[in-house]
Symmetry: C2
Subunit: 175 residues, 2 copies
């Protein structure tokens, strides 16, 4: 079972602006950077409540038929729009991963700043794939945050794409 | 006349820990990533007072015979150790660059978090070269900071080196 992060960020490490907008990323940024290939192997998305609030406003539900787990400390308070297939879950990153593994999940995709940071801090992320765009935005929702201790990674590969996108893949080393 | 930034950072964008230590970067990180070649073309270093406070504690003055400009709002307060060749200078990034250009400087190397951020915000940096090491440290002295507005860059090249170092070179686009 693998837990992966696959994100697009500004050169200064922001996933989005403070208001949730990511207008600084190219519209179809993912068309040739292996996202489709990556996502085809994912059998569970784990997102935070804030990311959920952003994506549920989209014209199209971005996760297709793949199960989506929305993390929340107050699952009762989260409103799920009609026709949206997702499940609310509480608990620590370790517990969430264990529950999904019990159900047979082989590849979990963790998304959203706070959620990614929580899962990294809990030591349950195996792979981090960062797509960096050549723009500095100065402030916003950061990909990374405070840590309990250093996390060492192994660089797997880096490739440059259109729009000046640089994609780097890392394996998280055991602490 | 060119103004360049050439830095080593953690994957989460820190130049150093809060106490100034950069023990998370490989000791001889610069031995094969083109630093020597780059530095050979530099004819003026511009550093902030905080970076100066760190480097003046080194056993060896790291800038050799190349002129070093130490920026300070209170130049009178900065103590320069014996045998250290540096000049104190106040004023805005634009003024500093203009003064050095008048003296014939062709390639200025700007270093230190605050100084880099000030020069980027002032729109006087032409080139940014970032050497990213595969470690997350969670907090420290950030390479980038708040901006008056987005800064767009053009990706020039990216290469992976030993220790999992990934070096990316960007050209700053005119705003």
């Amino acid at each position: 079972m693998r837990v992966s992060v696959f994100v697009g960020v500004s050169l200064d490490g922001f996933l989005a602006r403070k208001n949730g907008s990511y207008d600084f990323l190219p519209r179809k940024g993912g068309d040739d950077n292996g996202y489709d290939e990556f996502i085809a192997t994912v059998d569970a998305h784990v997102i935070g409540r804030k990311t959920f609030d952003v994506v549920r406003g989209f014209d199209e539900w971005p996760y297709g038929e793949t199960p989506v787990i929305v993390l929340s400390r107050n699952p009762g308070r989260v409103k799920v729009p009609k026709g949206v297939h997702c499940e609310l879950m509480g608990g620590s990153p370790k517990r969430v991963v264990a529950r999904l593994a019990q159900r047979g999940a082989k590849h979990i995709y963790v998304d959203g700043g706070r959620t990614i940071q929580g899962f990294l801090n809990a030591g349950v992320v195996h792979r981090v794939i960062i797509n960096r765009y050549p723009v500095l935005v100065g402030s916003g929702i950061p990909l990374f945050g405070p840590l309990r201790s250093d996390i060492r990674l192994e660089h797997v590969r880096t490739r440059a794409y259109r729009h000046g996108l640089v994609k780097s893949e890392y394996r998280v080393l055991p602490s």
